[in-house]
């Protein structure tokens, strides 16, 4: 068998400049692939903002572009959380909006007028290209193998775990913060390797950007100190670590405190205490280092023990006292739910009610990462083999990333970068071993020695001196392994494309369904209803709905809402929950007090759309019960046998609740008598539908997904609403005179 043509092909890439050119071309292709695979939804539907949170970000961006940075910074939003309003400028992470705003203005300066919506829609794909590049850089710090970086970049570019939050239109904080996360890690590794203040400062800069963009910055805040701590425990304290860490911590903390939403949290909350602790610890170590060089060994021993014990005791006592005195806030609920997955379910229903806060199901790992998930441990193992400072980082990151990803679905996102890096190291290792056409000889050994020497120089203290000459001699085995690997890689691409196209590219504002003949049918009820609100209601008509739809109503219908997806005020949400789950007579005063004009409910019974309000109803009840345990009782919504039913056997409390009535009001009229069917819950509804006294049906969308009700005004002649609508229906008022008992006298 002749290896000549292959060798000739391999020779093309031998020259340094050719390699660089190739790398640049490949990186551009990777970025292109990353962007292209995220465009399914734009091509299939249109350039539209997806889901819920992105609608708020989009609205905020529009405000920023229209009013400038300073009024955005001081933005008091009086169209959400009516009547409380929201200090939006001070309670959001402005990084995303400012990024889009900057791009918008830059393009305009270049006389390329692009609609802000398109910038917002395409921001996430654009940043995914950058993320691929950042992953390339990070991986290159880990291994001398030139292919690992490119493989990591390609993995990062198309891994569904990352695509899930960064398809076109998914204009969320994560869109840019994963790039910032990876790039900050790269800069940290760089700073640590070089002991450079410049890289440390750059790391702090990007950390600041990250803080400005996403609440997930706490992951960095905890991971870097942890990495440093592990290094110290391994006896690897060095001035490089000292310089890198102190530079990052001092500048990064200052930078993070500039964000109004973060403010003094870095010195007040428990989440940020490890970083501060390690900062102090490093100062002590540096001091001890100095003392050791100044005084003799024995004295130093006693000094060390006394000093270490003293500081530890004082530090611990200080922490306990400060926490119990309330200077340092104890851990937040979301944090506890990271350790105990059932914590939120018991204590904070509002956190548990969000599906992305649920623990991950194990198939999700395979679904989101495919073959990377089994290459991941191999990569981590390879890191153990070399175990320089940066490899410790990968190990620590891998451990914590996997734990958090297992606890909360959305944290799959933070795991994905390290999985890509580790898997790329593993794959490149395989390829480096098997893609060499020549059989091993003494020459090869020399080459290997050289590369080993390089590796040795990069770090210290590894016992890899007595490596026997191992090599693959048979081309068949090489071919088998390489082709198997290639097939895996191709399957990976197929899987990624399939997952992206089928699972992650639905805007959820527009629902797509297949007709019998296979053609696509668009169900556009949401936009139909929001458009109706926009065109038919007063500009300041307050809309009450469950908080899931708050951002969309604000963004698409441009109407004030009572609660929205920024769930900062549990009581206000519970108020809405109470209004939805109580009788009309109880709900009406609540709605009057909050000046509600319209109530919006989502009802999927006709179409079989399972994400509707009746299915979310128990969360409303639970959240309301958390505040008003005497008035709302979850048990009362179940049948005596403990079933959650909506048909004739539903409990009376359920049937009297406003949500039930709004969902099924007039629904019977669609069907022949007694045939009304709820397709989501598979229930046959009672023959007589509910009556509504305090609300008027205002709008029902084509497929009945959205139903909007108008809240009636107080009765003009002072009756209660039940009496008024009974009169409207032609029922005579019962004669009061027939009643026995004491006469009610009028007192003036």
């Amino acid at each position: 068998m002749s290896a000549e043509p292959l060798q000739a092909l391999a020779n093309v890439g031998k020259g340094e400049s050719t390699r660089t050119l190739l790398r640049v071309v490949i990186l551009f292709l990777i970025a292109g692939a990353a962007v292209a695979s995220r465009l399914f939804s734009v091509i299939r539907f249109e350039s539209i903002i997806h889901e819920f949170d992105p609608w708020f970000n989009f609205r905020a961006t529009k405000y920023l572009v229209a009013n400038g940075f300073y009024s955005f910074w001081d933005w008091f939003d009086d169209r959400t959380w009516h009547p409380l309003g929201r200090v939006t400028g001070g309670t959001l992470y402005p990084g995303l909006m400012v990024t889009s705003g900057a791009i918008y203005h830059a393009l305009r300066a270049l006389t390329i007028p692009v609609d802000i919506r398109n910038i917002c829609v395409l921001l996430a794909p654009a940043f995914s290209g950058l993320t691929a590049y950042a992953t390339y850089l990070l991986t290159n710090e880990m291994t001398p193998s030139p292919s690992a970086g490119l493989l990591a970049a390609v993995f990062m570019g198309i891994a569904p775990g990352y695509i899930s939050r960064s398809v076109a239109g998914s204009y969320d904080n994560e869109a840019i913060s994963i790039f910032l996360l990876v790039f900050t890690f790269y800069l940290w590794i760089k700073a640590l390797k070089l002991g450079s203040m410049l890289w440390g400062a750059l790391c702090a800069l990007f950390y600041g950007y990250m803080v400005a963009s996403w609440g997930g910055y706490a992951f960095i805040t905890c991971l870097l100190p942890l990495h440093s701590f592990v290094l110290i425990c391994m006896g690897r304290y060095s001035t490089r670590l000292y310089v890198a860490y102190t530079t990052w911590y001092a500048l990064g903390t200052l930078a993070s405190m500039q964000i109004p939403f973060v403010g003094f949290l870095p010195v007040k909350t428990s989440e940020h205490m490890p970083a501060l602790g390690i900062f102090g610890f490093l100062q002590l170590l540096a001091f001890l280092d100095y003392v050791r060089s100044a005084i003799p060994g024995r004295q130093f021993q006693t000094f060390l023990w006394l000093f270490a014990g003293g500081t530890f005791g004082i530090g611990l006592a200080g922490l306990v006292i400060a926490t119990s005195a309330g200077v340092i806030a104890p851990w937040g609920g979301r944090f506890y739910s990271l350790w105990d997955t059932s914590y939120a379910k018991i204590h904070i229903p509002i956190i548990a009610s969000v599906s992305e806060h649920q623990p991950t199901a194990w198939p999700a790992f395979f679904f989101d990462l495919n073959m990377l998930i089994w290459l991941f441990p191999a990569g981590v193992y390879l890191c153990f083999q070399q175990l320089a400072d940066e490899h410790v980082f990968i190990v620590v990151y891998a451990l914590f990333g996997s734990y958090f990803a297992g606890v909360m679905v959305r944290l799959m996102l933070t795991l994905t970068p390290v999985v890509c890096v580790a898997a790329a190291i593993a794959v490149s290792n395989v390829f480096d071993a098997y893609l060499i056409v020549k059989s091993p000889s003494t020459e090869d050994r020399q080459v290997e020695d050289v590369s080993e020497a390089v590796a040795k120089k990069a770090k210290s203290g590894l016992k890899s001196t007595s490596k026997p000459v191992v090599g693959v001699y048979s081309l068949i085995s090489k071919g088998a392994v390489v082709s198997a690997m290639t097939v895996y890689l191709l399957l990976f691409v197929l899987h990624c494309t399939w997952v992206t196209s089928n699972a992650y590219s639905s805007p959820s504002v527009v629902l797509a369904s297949k007709l019998a003949d296979g053609s696509q049918h668009i169900i556009d009820d949401y936009r139909e209803a929001y458009q109706w609100l926009r065109q038919n209601t007063k500009d300041d008509a307050k809309i009450m709905s469950w908080w899931d739809y708050g951002y969309q109503i604000g963004g698409m219908a441009d109407r004030p809402t009572l609660v929205d997806n920024n769930t900062w005020n549990n009581t206000h949400i519970a108020t809405v929950g109470k209004a939805m789950s109580s009788k009309e007579e109880v709900s009406y005063p609540i709605m009057r007090q909050h000046e509600v004009d319209y109530v919006l409910v989502v009802f999927g019974g006709l179409l079989g759309y399972s994400g509707d309000d009746i299915n979310k109803f128990l969360w409303m009840v639970r959240i309301a019960e958390g505040i008003w345990p005497e008035e709302v009782n979850e048990r009362a919504f179940f049948t005596p046998r403990g079933e959650y039913r909506v048909d004739a056997e539903a409990s009376q409390v359920m049937k009297d609740s406003l949500m039930y009535k709004m969902s099924y009001y007039n629904y019977n009229n669609l069907f022949p008598p007694g045939q009304a069917q709820d397709r989501v819950r598979g229930a046959r509804l009672p023959e007589v539908g509910p009556t509504l006294d305090v609300l008027d049906e205002a709008f029902t969308s084509e497929n009945w997904i959205i139903r909007i009700y108008k809240v009636k005004d107080l009765d003009n002649v002072g009756r209660d609403h039940a009496a008024a609508s009974a009169f409207e229906r032609g029922l005579k008022k019962k004669k009061v005179m027939k009643k026995r008992g004491p006469r009610v006298l009028r007192v003036d």
Binding site: F76, P83, N716, K733, R746
Partner: protein, 464 residues
């Protein structure tokens, strides 16, 4: 040409506004149009006040309170009818709809005929009860007209009505002469529910009671109502300020009783107050008196050095603001400045979910004139951001309901509105600390750079 047109238009407007504030189309519903002669003085008075009267019978085909979805009349007088119901054009639903569309109704009853069921249902909806079996007669064995009802005691002589509470302005008895009494012949009394929209105008004396002369002529076992619980004339004002007045005796509005000479039980001769009373009741019902109008509302920032623009949509917490509301009262033909009754107060609420401030509004002479009175209040906004309402909620019996809500947002302090650090005395040690560190650092650098190394050995050690 245009100005001439405008002039005529204005002339027409003033001519129209010389009567009721809500319009001059008055429908009189009588069983027989010929009966109007009985009430000629009353109707003539109305006509002379500027109303355009139309007459219809309940059975008339052409009778319709609405035309093309709009009110065809502004006011309706219903005289007693002998019919059991009032026909398809005056169902309780139509009448209620008429009230909901800001129409005013003056309803009169009579003990001579049973009340139509349509009227009974309407009254039931607004919480006024009539005696069972739709007939009743109010008698008083101590206050009757000795001249005309010496036997039956069914013509009541009452003192002119006065206000039922000290803080309520007296609209119905102010024009009464010293020797005038209100005659209430053969009327029906009603009981009122305890709703705040209802107010009695004339209450029966303590000795009066209501009975059914047909069934209870022999034995009276169950009194429908007696004494002051029995309202002989009552006022109802809906939330939209549409008015409904009930007069228990249609006869008291007839020509006979307008200037009749009556004799009290004590034998004193007196004149009746009925004509003036009829004018005032109809005037109230048809929005000629007790009508309030908000001319304008203005609120502005009340701070030194700020541009105090009118009615801004947004304020900041702890701003000083001034709120002014201008009110006029209509009385028969003119708008005049509204003055709050002596024992009453006009209040301003600044509220979000619940009031944060409830302040008295005081007369502001600078912005008042004979036609409009301005009331004002100045205060500091609460230290709470949110969407607040300036709310004036003035609902008093017989006066138009005032419920004015002006929504403003109250924002938080912007980042550049806080006092600078050097203004806060508590920050001075810290600022001093910063400068001490800066100077110390500079001094150290200077010392480091300009002090020559003394020992070569030491220098080598340092560079390592």
């Amino acid at each position: 040409m245009r100005s001439l047109l405008l002039f005529f238009a204005l002339l027409w407007v003033t001519a129209v506004s010389a009567i009721s504030t809500t319009g001059d189309r008055l429908l009189v519903v009588l069983d027989d149009v010929a009966d109007k002669a009985t009430y000629s003085k009353f109707l003539g008075d109305l006509e002379s006040r500027g109303f355009k009267l139309s007459y219809e019978t309940p059975k008339s085909e052409s009778l319709s309170l609405f035309r093309l979805g709009e009110r065809a009349y502004d006011h309706v007088i219903l005289f007693p009818s002998r019919a059991k119901g009032l026909g398809p054009n005056l169902t309780p639903n139509v009448l209620l709809q008429f009230i909901n569309a800001n129409g005013n109704i003056l309803l009169t009853l009579s003990s001579a005929s049973s009340t139509p069921s349509s009227v009974i249902s309407l009254l039931a909806e607004i919480d006024i009860q009539l005696p069972a079996d739709r007939t009743g007669l109010v008698v008083d064995h101590f206050n009757y007209d000795a001249a005309s009802a010496a036997d039956k005691h069914d013509v009541l002589l009452l003192p002119p009505p006065s206000s039922i509470r000290a803080d309520i302005k007296d609209f119905f008895g102010v024009g009464a002469g010293a020797n005038e009494v209100l005659a209430f012949p053969r009327g029906v009394g009603a009981t009122l529910g305890s709703g705040e929209l209802l107010t009695p105008i004339v209450r029966a004396p303590a000795t009066a009671y209501s009975y059914n002369p047909k069934e209870q002529a022999e034995v009276l076992d169950d009194v429908f109502a007696a004494g002051s619980q029995l309202a002989l004339a009552a006022a109802f004002q809906a939330r939209n300020s549409a008015r409904f007045a009930l007069v228990g005796s249609a006869e008291m509005l007839s020509d006979t009783w307008f200037d009749a000479e009556v004799k009290t039980v004590g034998g004193k001769a007196a004149k009746t107050y009925n004509r003036e009373f009829a004018k005032r009741v109809s005037g109230w019902a048809f929005q000629e008196i007790g009508v309030l109008r908000v001319n304008w509302i203005e609120h502005h920032l009340n701070e030194v050095g700020a541009t105090n623009e009118s009615n801004p949509g947004i304020y900041r917490i702890k701003n000083d603001v001034t709120y002014t509301i201008s009110l006029s009262e209509y009385s028969w033909s003119t708008w005049s400045a509204f003055s709050v009754p002596a024992n009453d107060a006009l209040q301003l609420e600044f509220s979000m979910l619940s009031p944060f401030h409830r302040l008295p509004l005081v007369l502001d002479p600078a912005h008042s004139n004979p036609e409009a009175a301005a009331y004002t209040a100045s205060f500091k906004l609460p230290d709470q951001h949110g969407i607040f309402n300036f709310k004036v909620n003035y609902k008093r019996p017989f006066f138009t309901n005032l419920e004015e809500k002006n929504t403003v947002s109250v924002r938080h302090m912007a980042h550049d509105e806080w006092p600078r650090s050097y203004v806060i005395s508590g920050a001075w040690p810290w600022i001093a600390g910063i400068f001490a560190t800066v100077t110390g650092w500079l001094a150290f650098c200077a010392l480091w750079m300009y002090s020559a190394p003394t020992d070569k050995k030491k220098v080598i050690k340092k560079t390592q």
